[in-house]
Protein backbone atom coordinates (compact mmCIF):
# COMPACT_ATOMS: atom_id res chain seq x y z
CA UNK A 1 0.00 0.00 0.00
CA UNK A 2 1.06 3.62 -0.37
CA UNK A 3 1.11 6.77 1.70
CA UNK A 4 0.52 10.13 0.07
CA UNK A 5 1.89 13.10 1.96
CA UNK A 6 0.41 16.49 1.08
CA UNK A 7 2.04 19.67 2.36
CA UNK A 8 1.12 23.26 1.41
CA UNK A 9 3.67 25.29 -0.57
CA UNK A 10 2.08 28.59 0.44
CA UNK A 11 0.06 29.83 3.39
CA UNK A 12 -3.59 29.04 2.65
CA UNK A 13 -5.51 32.16 3.62
CA UNK A 14 -8.65 31.89 1.48
CA UNK A 15 -11.38 29.34 1.02
CA UNK A 16 -10.00 26.08 -0.31
CA UNK A 17 -12.47 23.56 -1.77
CA UNK A 18 -10.94 20.06 -1.64
CA UNK A 19 -14.08 18.21 -2.77
CA UNK A 20 -12.15 16.38 -5.50
CA UNK A 21 -9.50 15.04 -3.16
CA UNK A 22 -11.55 11.85 -2.84
CA UNK A 23 -10.33 10.90 -6.33
CA UNK A 24 -7.27 9.58 -4.46
CA UNK A 25 -9.55 6.71 -3.33
CA UNK A 26 -9.52 5.46 -6.92
CA UNK A 27 -5.86 4.49 -6.54
CA UNK A 28 -4.52 7.21 -8.85
CA UNK A 29 -0.86 7.50 -9.81
CA UNK A 30 1.22 10.33 -8.30
CA UNK A 31 1.01 12.22 -11.59
CA UNK A 32 -2.79 11.97 -11.61
CA UNK A 33 -2.98 13.04 -7.96
CA UNK A 34 -0.92 16.13 -8.71
CA UNK A 35 -3.39 17.06 -11.45
CA UNK A 36 -6.51 16.83 -9.29
CA UNK A 37 -8.54 20.01 -9.73
CA UNK A 38 -9.27 22.05 -6.62
CA UNK A 39 -10.80 25.49 -6.02
CA UNK A 40 -8.74 28.08 -4.19
CA UNK A 41 -10.41 31.42 -3.60
CA UNK A 42 -12.98 30.32 -6.21
CA UNK A 43 -10.33 29.82 -8.87
CA UNK A 44 -9.58 26.39 -10.32
CA UNK A 45 -6.09 25.12 -9.66
CA UNK A 46 -4.20 21.84 -9.76
CA UNK A 47 -3.33 20.22 -6.45
CA UNK A 48 0.38 20.55 -7.22
CA UNK A 49 0.03 24.31 -7.68
CA UNK A 50 -0.57 24.71 -3.95
CA UNK A 51 0.89 21.57 -2.42
CA UNK A 52 3.99 19.42 -2.56
CA UNK A 53 2.91 15.82 -2.89
CA UNK A 54 5.12 12.84 -2.14
CA UNK A 55 4.46 9.13 -2.16
CA UNK A 56 5.84 6.38 0.08
CA UNK A 57 5.29 2.64 0.17
CA UNK A 58 3.97 1.40 3.52
CA UNK A 59 3.03 -1.90 5.13
CA UNK A 60 -0.68 -1.47 5.70
CA UNK A 61 -4.02 -2.92 4.59
CA UNK A 62 -5.22 0.46 3.33
CA UNK A 63 -3.76 3.45 1.55
CA UNK A 64 -3.01 6.45 3.73
CA UNK A 65 -3.20 10.16 2.94
CA UNK A 66 -1.42 12.52 5.32
CA UNK A 67 -2.30 16.20 5.16
CA UNK A 68 0.12 18.52 6.93
CA UNK A 69 -0.28 22.09 8.15
CA UNK A 70 -3.96 22.52 7.35
CA UNK A 71 -6.19 25.27 8.78
CA UNK A 72 -9.83 26.35 8.95
CA UNK A 73 -9.86 27.34 5.26
CA UNK A 74 -9.63 23.70 4.17
CA UNK A 75 -13.22 22.81 3.29
CA UNK A 76 -14.72 19.57 2.00
CA UNK A 77 -11.82 17.43 3.15
CA UNK A 78 -12.83 13.76 2.91
CA UNK A 79 -16.03 14.64 1.03
CA UNK A 80 -17.49 11.33 -0.27
CA UNK A 81 -14.40 9.62 1.13
CA UNK A 82 -14.11 5.85 0.79
CA UNK A 83 -11.75 3.01 1.72
CA UNK A 84 -8.58 4.93 2.61
CA UNK A 85 -7.25 6.44 5.80
CA UNK A 86 -7.03 10.24 5.85
CA UNK A 87 -4.81 11.69 8.56
CA UNK A 88 -4.93 15.43 9.23
CA UNK A 89 -2.50 16.82 11.74
CA UNK A 90 -4.13 20.18 12.34
CA UNK A 91 -7.44 22.08 12.13
CA UNK A 92 -9.79 21.85 9.14
CA UNK A 93 -12.74 23.81 7.81
CA UNK A 94 -16.31 22.79 7.09
CA UNK A 95 -17.82 19.68 5.51
CA UNK A 96 -15.12 17.35 6.83
CA UNK A 97 -16.15 13.80 5.82
CA UNK A 98 -19.50 14.99 4.48
CA UNK A 99 -21.23 12.22 2.50
CA UNK A 100 -18.39 9.89 3.52
CA UNK A 101 -18.94 6.27 2.45
CA UNK A 102 -16.22 4.24 4.16
CA UNK A 103 -12.62 4.39 5.38
CA UNK A 104 -11.41 6.51 8.27
CA UNK A 105 -10.56 10.15 8.87
CA UNK A 106 -8.53 11.30 11.87
CA UNK A 107 -8.12 14.98 12.71
CA UNK A 108 -5.69 16.02 15.41
CA UNK A 109 -7.15 19.52 15.66
CA UNK A 110 -10.67 20.94 15.46
CA UNK A 111 -13.10 21.23 12.57
CA UNK A 112 -15.84 23.61 11.58
CA UNK A 113 -19.45 23.05 10.50
CA UNK A 114 -21.21 20.11 8.83
CA UNK A 115 -18.67 17.52 9.88
CA UNK A 116 -19.91 14.05 8.80
CA UNK A 117 -23.06 15.57 7.36
CA UNK A 118 -25.01 12.96 5.39
CA UNK A 119 -22.22 10.40 5.85
CA UNK A 120 -23.26 6.80 5.24
CA UNK A 121 -20.28 4.79 6.49
CA UNK A 122 -16.73 4.83 7.82
CA UNK A 123 -15.40 6.55 10.91
CA UNK A 124 -14.28 10.08 11.76
CA UNK A 125 -12.21 10.90 14.83
CA UNK A 126 -11.70 14.54 15.85
CA UNK A 127 -9.32 15.05 18.75
CA UNK A 128 -10.52 18.59 19.61
CA UNK A 129 -13.78 20.46 18.92
CA UNK A 130 -16.34 20.48 16.12
CA UNK A 131 -18.69 23.19 14.85
CA UNK A 132 -22.38 23.22 14.04
CA UNK A 133 -24.44 20.52 12.31
CA UNK A 134 -22.22 17.51 13.05
CA UNK A 135 -23.80 14.39 11.46
CA UNK A 136 -26.71 16.47 10.20
CA UNK A 137 -28.36 17.02 6.89
CA UNK A 138 -26.75 19.55 4.58
CA UNK A 139 -28.73 22.80 4.21
CA UNK A 140 -31.91 22.30 2.23
CA UNK A 141 -31.90 18.52 2.67
CA UNK A 142 -33.93 16.44 5.12
CA UNK A 143 -31.82 13.32 5.59
CA UNK A 144 -28.87 13.52 7.97
CA UNK A 145 -26.17 10.98 8.66
CA UNK A 146 -27.26 7.45 7.63
CA UNK A 147 -24.36 5.32 8.90
CA UNK A 148 -20.82 5.17 10.20
CA UNK A 149 -19.43 6.54 13.42
CA UNK A 150 -18.06 9.85 14.68
CA UNK A 151 -15.93 10.38 17.75
CA UNK A 152 -15.29 13.92 18.97
CA UNK A 153 -13.16 14.28 22.07
CA UNK A 154 -13.90 17.96 22.60
CA UNK A 155 -17.08 20.05 22.43
CA UNK A 156 -19.54 20.41 19.57
CA UNK A 157 -21.52 23.49 18.70
CA UNK A 158 -25.21 23.75 17.77
CA UNK A 159 -27.48 21.34 15.94
CA UNK A 160 -25.55 18.16 16.62
CA UNK A 161 -27.06 15.27 14.57
CA UNK A 162 -29.96 17.30 13.25
CA UNK A 163 -32.26 14.96 11.26
CA UNK A 164 -29.80 12.09 11.73
CA UNK A 165 -31.12 8.72 10.52
CA UNK A 166 -28.58 6.10 11.61
CA UNK A 167 -25.03 5.78 12.91
CA UNK A 168 -23.13 6.51 16.08
CA UNK A 169 -21.75 9.76 17.51
CA UNK A 170 -19.72 10.19 20.68
CA UNK A 171 -19.03 13.65 22.11
CA UNK A 172 -16.39 13.75 24.81
CA UNK A 173 -17.25 17.32 25.89
CA UNK A 174 -20.40 19.42 25.76
CA UNK A 175 -22.99 19.81 23.03
CA UNK A 176 -24.48 23.22 22.15
CA UNK A 177 -28.07 24.32 21.65
CA UNK A 178 -30.62 22.41 19.59
CA UNK A 179 -28.67 19.22 19.93
CA UNK A 180 -30.43 16.06 18.59
CA UNK A 181 -33.33 18.07 17.14
CA UNK A 182 -35.59 16.13 14.77
CA UNK A 183 -33.54 13.01 15.38
CA UNK A 184 -34.97 10.10 13.39
CA UNK A 185 -32.68 7.29 14.61
CA UNK A 186 -29.11 6.51 15.58
CA UNK A 187 -27.10 6.49 18.79
CA UNK A 188 -25.51 9.55 20.36
CA UNK A 189 -23.44 9.67 23.53
CA UNK A 190 -22.73 13.03 25.16
CA UNK A 191 -20.32 12.98 28.05
CA UNK A 192 -20.88 16.43 29.50
CA UNK A 193 -23.68 19.01 29.34
CA UNK A 194 -26.10 20.00 26.61
CA UNK A 195 -27.48 23.41 25.57
CA UNK A 196 -31.03 24.68 25.15
CA UNK A 197 -33.81 22.95 23.18
CA UNK A 198 -32.28 19.56 23.65
CA UNK A 199 -33.89 16.72 21.61
CA UNK A 200 -36.85 18.80 20.39
CA UNK A 201 -38.82 16.86 17.78
CA UNK A 202 -36.98 13.60 18.48
CA UNK A 203 -38.82 10.77 16.73
CA UNK A 204 -36.72 7.71 17.53
CA UNK A 205 -33.07 6.94 18.27
CA UNK A 206 -31.05 6.76 21.45
CA UNK A 207 -29.30 9.62 23.21
CA UNK A 208 -27.08 8.69 26.14
CA UNK A 209 -26.08 11.33 28.64
CA UNK A 210 -23.19 10.66 30.96
CA UNK A 211 -23.82 13.71 33.15
CA UNK A 212 -26.69 14.77 35.37
CA UNK A 213 -28.67 16.89 32.89
CA UNK A 214 -32.14 18.05 33.96
CA UNK A 215 -34.74 16.54 31.65
CA UNK A 216 -37.26 18.73 29.93
CA UNK A 217 -40.99 18.17 30.37
CA UNK A 218 -41.40 16.73 26.87
CA UNK A 219 -39.61 13.55 28.03
CA UNK A 220 -41.33 11.01 30.27
CA UNK A 221 -39.42 8.89 32.74
CA UNK A 222 -39.72 5.19 31.94
CA UNK A 223 -37.87 3.49 34.76
CA UNK A 224 -34.37 2.26 35.27
CA UNK A 225 -34.63 -1.29 33.97
CA UNK A 226 -31.47 -3.17 33.15
CA UNK A 227 -30.62 -3.03 29.48
CA UNK A 228 -28.30 -5.60 27.93
CA UNK A 229 -28.01 -3.12 25.08
CA UNK A 230 -25.78 -0.93 27.25
CA UNK A 231 -23.25 -3.76 27.56
CA UNK A 232 -23.37 -4.30 23.83
CA UNK A 233 -22.80 -0.62 23.16
CA UNK A 234 -19.98 -0.47 25.67
CA UNK A 235 -18.34 -3.36 23.88
CA UNK A 236 -18.78 -1.73 20.48
CA UNK A 237 -17.20 1.55 21.64
CA UNK A 238 -14.40 -0.32 23.30
CA UNK A 239 -13.61 -2.25 20.09
CA UNK A 240 -14.09 0.67 17.73
CA UNK A 241 -12.41 3.48 19.64
CA UNK A 242 -10.38 1.67 22.31
CA UNK A 243 -12.16 3.44 25.14
CA UNK A 244 -14.63 2.52 27.85
CA UNK A 245 -17.54 4.86 28.48
CA UNK A 246 -19.67 3.20 31.15
CA UNK A 247 -18.67 1.62 34.41
CA UNK A 248 -19.82 -1.89 35.30
CA UNK A 249 -22.19 -0.59 37.97
CA UNK A 250 -23.50 2.52 36.22
CA UNK A 251 -27.07 3.49 37.08
CA UNK A 252 -29.35 3.85 34.06
CA UNK A 253 -32.44 6.10 33.98
CA UNK A 254 -34.57 5.99 30.87
CA UNK A 255 -36.79 8.71 29.39
CA UNK A 256 -39.04 8.58 26.35
CA UNK A 257 -39.90 11.40 24.00
CA UNK A 258 -40.42 13.83 22.46
CA UNK A 259 -43.98 13.39 23.74
CA UNK A 260 -45.13 16.56 21.96
CA UNK A 261 -44.76 14.78 18.64
CA UNK A 262 -45.52 11.29 20.10
CA UNK A 263 -41.89 10.37 19.56
CA UNK A 264 -40.46 7.03 20.61
CA UNK A 265 -36.91 8.22 21.08
CA UNK A 266 -35.08 7.23 24.25
CA UNK A 267 -32.82 9.23 26.49
CA UNK A 268 -30.63 7.23 28.80
CA UNK A 269 -29.00 8.99 31.69
CA UNK A 270 -26.11 6.86 32.88
CA UNK A 271 -24.35 8.01 36.01
Amino acid sequence: MKKIIIKPKIKISNSLDLKNLNLINKNLSLREIKNIKILYNNKEKKLEDLFTITEQTIKSDVNEVLLLESNFFYDFLGFEWSNDLLLINSNVGSYLGAKMKSGKITVKGSCQNYMGAEMSGGAIVVKKNAGNFVGSSISGKRIGMTGGSILILGNVDKYLCYQMRRGFIFVGGEAGDNCCNNLVAGTIIIKKGVGKNFCIGMKRGTVILLSNVTMQSNFIESGNCSLAFINLLNQFVSNEFKMKIFGEKSKVSRFIGDKNIRGQGELLKII
Binding site: R166, F168, L227, A228, F229, L232, F236
Partner: protein
Protein backbone atom coordinates in the same frame (compact mmCIF):
# COMPACT_ATOMS: atom_id res chain seq x y z
CA UNK B 1 -8.83 -55.80 20.48
CA UNK B 2 -8.07 -52.98 22.97
CA UNK B 3 -8.15 -53.70 26.71
CA UNK B 4 -10.29 -56.78 25.99
CA UNK B 5 -12.77 -54.62 24.03
CA UNK B 6 -13.17 -55.69 20.43
CA UNK B 7 -13.08 -52.88 17.86
CA UNK B 8 -15.22 -54.12 14.99
CA UNK B 9 -13.76 -53.50 11.54
CA UNK B 10 -16.49 -51.23 10.31
CA UNK B 11 -17.19 -47.56 9.80
CA UNK B 12 -19.59 -44.80 10.79
CA UNK B 13 -21.32 -43.12 7.93
CA UNK B 14 -22.11 -39.39 8.07
CA UNK B 15 -23.81 -37.01 5.68
CA UNK B 16 -23.71 -33.29 4.85
CA UNK B 17 -26.00 -30.95 6.76
CA UNK B 18 -26.58 -27.23 7.16
CA UNK B 19 -25.50 -25.76 10.47
CA UNK B 20 -25.66 -22.51 12.37
CA UNK B 21 -24.13 -21.45 15.67
CA UNK B 22 -26.06 -19.25 18.08
CA UNK B 23 -24.77 -17.55 21.20
CA UNK B 24 -27.29 -17.17 23.99
CA UNK B 25 -26.46 -14.84 26.85
CA UNK B 26 -28.37 -14.02 30.01
CA UNK B 27 -28.08 -12.36 33.40
CA UNK B 28 -26.34 -15.51 34.67
CA UNK B 29 -25.32 -18.90 33.32
CA UNK B 30 -28.37 -20.61 34.80
CA UNK B 31 -30.77 -18.66 32.60
CA UNK B 32 -28.59 -18.91 29.52
CA UNK B 33 -28.61 -22.69 29.98
CA UNK B 34 -32.36 -22.74 30.63
CA UNK B 35 -32.91 -21.02 27.28
CA UNK B 36 -30.42 -23.27 25.51
CA UNK B 37 -31.93 -26.44 26.96
CA UNK B 38 -35.39 -25.31 25.96
CA UNK B 39 -34.16 -24.48 22.43
CA UNK B 40 -32.42 -27.85 22.11
CA UNK B 41 -35.35 -29.81 23.52
CA UNK B 42 -37.06 -32.03 20.95
CA UNK B 43 -34.12 -31.56 18.60
CA UNK B 44 -32.58 -35.02 18.72
CA UNK B 45 -32.97 -36.18 15.14
CA UNK B 46 -33.95 -34.72 11.81
CA UNK B 47 -36.15 -37.77 11.32
CA UNK B 48 -39.00 -36.06 13.12
CA UNK B 49 -37.73 -32.98 14.92
CA UNK B 50 -36.77 -30.83 11.95
CA UNK B 51 -33.32 -30.20 13.36
CA UNK B 52 -30.64 -31.56 15.65
CA UNK B 53 -29.38 -29.15 18.26
CA UNK B 54 -27.22 -29.17 21.32
CA UNK B 55 -25.07 -27.08 23.60
CA UNK B 56 -21.56 -26.81 22.21
CA UNK B 57 -19.97 -25.11 25.20
CA UNK B 58 -20.45 -22.62 27.98
CA UNK B 59 -19.03 -19.15 27.46
CA UNK B 60 -17.45 -16.80 29.96
CA UNK B 61 -18.58 -13.15 29.96
CA UNK B 62 -15.35 -12.19 28.18
CA UNK B 63 -16.29 -14.48 25.26
CA UNK B 64 -19.76 -13.08 24.54
CA UNK B 65 -20.82 -9.97 22.59
CA UNK B 66 -22.60 -8.33 25.53
CA UNK B 67 -20.12 -9.49 28.18
CA UNK B 68 -22.64 -11.61 30.05
CA UNK B 69 -22.38 -15.35 30.69
CA UNK B 70 -23.62 -17.45 27.83
CA UNK B 71 -23.71 -20.70 25.96
CA UNK B 72 -22.97 -21.57 22.38
CA UNK B 73 -25.37 -23.91 20.61
CA UNK B 74 -25.15 -25.63 17.25
CA UNK B 75 -28.25 -26.32 15.16
CA UNK B 76 -28.14 -28.79 12.28
CA UNK B 77 -30.74 -29.46 9.63
CA UNK B 78 -30.98 -31.09 6.23
CA UNK B 79 -32.04 -28.00 4.26
CA UNK B 80 -31.56 -24.25 4.49
CA UNK B 81 -35.30 -23.72 4.56
CA UNK B 82 -35.87 -26.09 7.46
CA UNK B 83 -32.89 -24.70 9.37
CA UNK B 84 -34.26 -21.14 9.05
CA UNK B 85 -37.70 -22.25 10.16
CA UNK B 86 -36.42 -24.16 13.17
CA UNK B 87 -34.08 -21.40 14.33
CA UNK B 88 -36.76 -18.75 14.02
CA UNK B 89 -39.48 -20.74 15.79
CA UNK B 90 -37.25 -22.03 18.55
CA UNK B 91 -35.67 -18.62 19.19
CA UNK B 92 -39.08 -17.00 19.35
CA UNK B 93 -40.61 -19.58 21.64
CA UNK B 94 -37.67 -20.73 23.73
CA UNK B 95 -35.05 -17.96 23.93
CA UNK B 96 -37.15 -14.82 23.71
CA UNK B 97 -39.47 -16.19 26.40
CA UNK B 98 -36.64 -16.93 28.85
CA UNK B 99 -35.93 -14.09 31.31
CA UNK B 100 -32.97 -11.77 30.62
CA UNK B 101 -31.72 -13.55 27.50
CA UNK B 102 -30.21 -12.17 24.31
CA UNK B 103 -29.17 -14.06 21.19
CA UNK B 104 -26.34 -13.45 18.76
CA UNK B 105 -24.81 -15.09 15.74
CA UNK B 106 -21.86 -17.30 16.59
CA UNK B 107 -20.44 -17.85 13.13
CA UNK B 108 -20.05 -16.28 9.73
CA UNK B 109 -21.29 -17.89 6.57
CA UNK B 110 -22.40 -17.31 3.04
CA UNK B 111 -26.10 -17.62 3.67
CA UNK B 112 -28.08 -15.39 6.01
CA UNK B 113 -30.88 -16.69 8.20
CA UNK B 114 -33.34 -14.04 9.17
CA UNK B 115 -33.65 -13.91 12.95
CA UNK B 116 -34.11 -10.50 14.56
CA UNK B 117 -35.25 -9.29 11.20
CA UNK B 118 -38.32 -11.52 11.57
CA UNK B 119 -38.72 -11.62 15.35
CA UNK B 120 -38.78 -7.83 15.54
CA UNK B 121 -42.45 -7.79 14.59
CA UNK B 122 -43.19 -9.11 18.07
CA UNK B 123 -42.30 -5.59 19.19
CA UNK B 124 -45.47 -4.35 17.50
CA UNK B 125 -43.84 -1.17 16.24
CA UNK B 126 -41.95 -0.41 19.47
CA UNK B 127 -38.88 -2.40 18.45
CA UNK B 128 -35.61 -0.50 18.01
CA UNK B 129 -32.92 -1.29 15.48
CA UNK B 130 -29.30 -0.59 16.35
CA UNK B 131 -26.41 -0.87 13.94
CA UNK B 132 -23.02 -1.27 15.55
CA UNK B 133 -20.14 -1.57 13.16
CA UNK B 134 -21.22 -4.02 10.49
CA UNK B 135 -23.82 -5.74 12.65
CA UNK B 136 -27.42 -4.87 13.23
CA UNK B 137 -29.34 -5.74 16.37
CA UNK B 138 -32.99 -5.54 17.29
CA UNK B 139 -34.16 -4.44 20.69
CA UNK B 140 -37.61 -5.86 21.28
CA UNK B 141 -39.46 -4.56 24.34
CA UNK B 142 -40.49 -7.37 26.69
CA UNK B 143 -41.79 -7.42 30.25
CA UNK B 144 -38.37 -7.70 31.93
CA UNK B 145 -36.82 -4.96 29.83
CA UNK B 146 -35.82 -5.84 26.31
CA UNK B 147 -34.81 -8.83 24.25
CA UNK B 148 -31.75 -8.26 22.09
CA UNK B 149 -31.45 -10.28 18.96
CA UNK B 150 -29.01 -10.09 16.08
CA UNK B 151 -30.54 -9.28 12.72
CA UNK B 152 -29.21 -12.38 10.98
CA UNK B 153 -27.48 -15.59 11.92
CA UNK B 154 -25.48 -17.49 9.35
CA UNK B 155 -25.59 -20.91 7.82
CA UNK B 156 -22.54 -22.93 6.97
CA UNK B 157 -21.75 -26.51 5.99
CA UNK B 158 -21.75 -29.22 8.63
CA UNK B 159 -21.81 -32.97 9.00
CA UNK B 160 -24.38 -35.07 10.78
CA UNK B 161 -24.57 -38.71 11.77
CA UNK B 162 -21.11 -39.51 13.07
CA UNK B 163 -21.61 -42.34 15.55
CA UNK B 164 -20.32 -45.35 17.39
CA UNK B 165 -22.05 -48.21 19.17
CA UNK B 166 -21.10 -49.58 22.55
CA UNK B 167 -21.88 -53.29 22.94
CA UNK B 168 -21.92 -54.81 26.40
CA UNK B 169 -23.14 -57.51 28.70
CA UNK B 170 -25.77 -55.44 30.49
CA UNK B 171 -27.45 -52.03 30.66
CA UNK B 172 -25.55 -50.82 33.74
CA UNK B 173 -22.10 -51.32 32.24
CA UNK B 174 -22.97 -49.93 28.80
CA UNK B 175 -24.68 -46.88 30.28
CA UNK B 176 -21.72 -46.19 32.55
CA UNK B 177 -19.23 -46.50 29.68
CA UNK B 178 -21.31 -44.22 27.46
CA UNK B 179 -21.66 -41.64 30.22
CA UNK B 180 -17.89 -41.53 30.64
CA UNK B 181 -17.42 -41.12 26.89
CA UNK B 182 -20.04 -38.36 26.66
CA UNK B 183 -18.48 -36.48 29.55
CA UNK B 184 -15.15 -36.43 27.72
CA UNK B 185 -16.61 -35.70 24.29
CA UNK B 186 -18.62 -32.75 25.61
CA UNK B 187 -15.33 -30.95 26.26
CA UNK B 188 -14.73 -30.77 22.50
CA UNK B 189 -15.64 -27.69 20.46
CA UNK B 190 -17.42 -27.70 17.10
CA UNK B 191 -19.50 -30.78 17.88
CA UNK B 192 -22.74 -31.64 19.60
CA UNK B 193 -24.25 -34.89 20.82
CA UNK B 194 -27.91 -34.22 19.99
CA UNK B 195 -29.57 -37.07 21.88
CA UNK B 196 -30.66 -36.88 25.53
CA UNK B 197 -27.55 -37.04 27.66
CA UNK B 198 -25.63 -37.64 24.44
CA UNK B 199 -26.75 -41.28 24.26
CA UNK B 200 -29.35 -42.98 22.05
CA UNK B 201 -30.81 -46.43 22.65
CA UNK B 202 -33.14 -46.52 19.66
CA UNK B 203 -30.69 -46.57 16.78
CA UNK B 204 -32.49 -46.64 13.46
CA UNK B 205 -32.15 -47.96 9.95
CA UNK B 206 -33.50 -46.30 6.83
CA UNK B 207 -37.04 -47.38 5.85
CA UNK B 208 -39.52 -49.79 7.31
CA UNK B 209 -41.94 -52.49 6.30
CA UNK B 210 -44.60 -49.83 6.83
CA UNK B 211 -44.55 -47.70 3.69
CA UNK B 212 -45.02 -44.28 5.33
CA UNK B 213 -42.24 -44.69 7.85
CA UNK B 214 -38.84 -43.30 6.82
CA UNK B 215 -36.91 -44.95 9.67
CA UNK B 216 -37.39 -47.92 11.92
CA UNK B 217 -35.53 -49.87 14.58
CA UNK B 218 -32.05 -51.10 13.76
CA UNK B 219 -33.03 -54.76 14.36
CA UNK B 220 -29.52 -56.08 13.77
CA UNK B 221 -28.47 -54.49 17.06
CA UNK B 222 -31.58 -55.26 19.12
CA UNK B 223 -30.63 -57.93 21.67
CA UNK B 224 -34.23 -59.10 22.04
CA UNK B 225 -34.35 -60.02 18.35
CA UNK B 226 -31.31 -62.30 18.47
CA UNK B 227 -32.25 -65.56 16.82
CA UNK B 228 -35.24 -64.00 15.10
CA UNK B 229 -33.36 -61.86 12.58
CA UNK B 230 -29.84 -61.75 11.15
CA UNK B 231 -28.36 -60.19 14.28
CA UNK B 232 -24.92 -58.64 14.53
CA UNK B 233 -24.79 -59.42 18.24
CA UNK B 234 -23.26 -62.51 19.74
CA UNK B 235 -24.81 -64.37 22.61
CA UNK B 236 -22.96 -62.36 25.30
CA UNK B 237 -24.25 -58.97 24.16
CA UNK B 238 -27.41 -57.92 25.95
CA UNK B 239 -27.30 -54.14 25.55
CA UNK B 240 -26.23 -51.69 22.84
CA UNK B 241 -26.16 -47.93 23.05
CA UNK B 242 -25.11 -45.40 20.45
CA UNK B 243 -23.43 -42.01 20.65
CA UNK B 244 -24.31 -39.78 17.71
CA UNK B 245 -22.10 -36.81 16.82
CA UNK B 246 -22.83 -33.82 14.60
CA UNK B 247 -19.93 -31.53 13.83
CA UNK B 248 -18.74 -28.68 11.70
CA UNK B 249 -15.99 -30.63 9.94
CA UNK B 250 -15.13 -34.30 9.49
CA UNK B 251 -11.97 -33.75 11.54
CA UNK B 252 -14.09 -32.53 14.48
CA UNK B 253 -16.23 -35.69 14.37
CA UNK B 254 -13.17 -37.90 13.94
CA UNK B 255 -11.53 -36.37 17.01
CA UNK B 256 -14.71 -36.59 19.07
CA UNK B 257 -15.17 -40.27 18.19
CA UNK B 258 -11.54 -40.90 19.05
CA UNK B 259 -11.93 -39.17 22.42
CA UNK B 260 -15.08 -41.14 23.28
CA UNK B 261 -13.76 -44.54 22.24
CA UNK B 262 -10.41 -43.91 23.89
CA UNK B 263 -12.16 -43.04 27.15
CA UNK B 264 -14.20 -46.25 27.11
CA UNK B 265 -11.20 -48.38 26.26
CA UNK B 266 -8.87 -46.75 28.77
CA UNK B 267 -11.34 -46.78 31.65
CA UNK B 268 -11.54 -50.59 31.42
CA UNK B 269 -15.28 -50.57 32.08
CA UNK B 270 -16.58 -53.92 33.27
CA UNK B 271 -18.90 -55.70 30.84
CA UNK B 272 -18.03 -53.80 27.66
CA UNK B 273 -17.46 -56.29 24.87
CA UNK B 274 -17.12 -54.35 21.64
CA UNK B 275 -17.28 -51.00 19.86
CA UNK B 276 -19.01 -50.87 16.52
CA UNK B 277 -20.54 -48.18 14.30
CA UNK B 278 -23.69 -47.63 12.30
CA UNK B 279 -23.60 -47.34 8.55
CA UNK B 280 -25.73 -47.90 5.51
CA UNK B 281 -23.16 -49.64 3.37
CA UNK B 282 -21.71 -46.34 2.25
CA UNK B 283 -24.89 -45.40 0.37
CA UNK B 284 -26.14 -42.59 2.60
CA UNK B 285 -23.28 -40.17 3.02
CA UNK B 286 -19.86 -39.32 1.72
CA UNK B 287 -18.17 -39.20 5.14
CA UNK B 288 -16.89 -42.55 6.36
CA UNK B 289 -15.18 -42.83 9.76
CA UNK B 290 -13.36 -46.16 9.96
CA UNK B 291 -13.04 -47.39 13.54
CA UNK B 292 -9.67 -48.99 12.80
CA UNK B 293 -8.30 -45.57 11.76
CA UNK B 294 -9.85 -43.91 14.79
CA UNK B 295 -8.30 -46.24 17.36
CA UNK B 296 -4.87 -46.30 15.72
Amino acid sequence: MKNKIKIIDTFAEAFPMKVSRLIITAHNLKWAKEAANSFCGFATSVIACGCEAGIECELKPSQTPDKRPGVSILVFSMSSKELSKQILNRTGQCIMTTPTTAVFSGNNGDEEISLGNSLRYFGDGFQISKTMGKKRFWRIPVMDGEFICEDYVYQCKGIGGGNFLVLGEDTVSVLKACELAVQEMNKKKNIILPFPGGIVRSGSKVGSKYKNLIASTNFEYCPTLKGLVGSKLNSSVNCVMEIVIDGLKSEDIFQAMKTGIKKIVSSKCRGILAISAGNYGGKLGPYLFKLKDIVK
